[in-house]
Symmetry: C2
Subunit: 134 residues, 2 copies
């Protein structure tokens, strides 16, 4: 079911400092910040060649990463995203095994304008998994 690793998302408390760290210290290819008000985050994309790192910073009062940064003030890995061919088929197959899909179980349009779902970390080895229809 799961295909490529689309990205690893790292929540960061200071976007400029995080961008400078990846660009200047680690020498990576770092995008400009991209505000995504619908998703409550500003994102910086880091192109690693085979996959991406996404640096996430809260945007607005209701950011989905606000609580995470409250618990992890220095930042940390927030989720990993796997690609799937058919997100509804993937969801139904996962739910049939008893795995929990977050929210109302309906895919939302994610940061890459593709349907996404999140899976409950307690059912997946303590890792928050995003599925994105490739």
């Amino acid at each position: 079911m799961i295909g490529r690793l689309n990205h690893v998302a790292i929540a960061v408390p200071d976007l400029d400092q995080a961008a400078a760290l990846y660009r200047d210290t680690l020498g990576a290819k770092v995008s400009a910040p991209v505000p995504q008000p619908k998703h409550g985050v500003t994102v910086i994309f880091i192109d690693l060649g085979n996959t991406k790192i996404e640096l996430l910073h809260p945007l607005g009062a209701d950011s989905p990463i606000g609580a995470f940064l409250g618990r992890n003030p220095a930042g940390g890995i927030h989720h990993i995203c796997y690609e799937v061919d058919d997100i509804l088929a993937a969801r139904d197959q996962l739910k049939a095994t008893g795995a929990r899909v977050l929210g109302d179980g309906e895919p939302k349009i994610g940061a890459h304008d593709k349907p996404v779902l999140f899976l409950h970390p307690k059912d997946f080895l303590g890792t928050l998994i995003e599925l994105e229809q490739a």
Copy 2:
């Protein structure tokens, strides 16, 4: 400096259950467990096409992931590994910026028989980073 994402390492409390989750529930390509006594872990490799997930389980009394699993009994993402062309040049460049390299700063031979180093999570957005000479 950093190149491809070599792998994401997830520490897991039960290797059989974790392998079944990735193989049966998530439909991924999962290896047999590979004991690596020198590294204090047993590893399962998951081939995602563009990169790998490595499921790590403690092996022996002095496992480097024992304390992490103590803090995260359900498991969790332990580190991410970036490839570099020249690990000594990367180390020296990072140390010159004030970033901390773990241990004595000398590369060890890692799980893939290549030289590796770990960087201090407090200097890298709360993420433990492994560098591996590609």
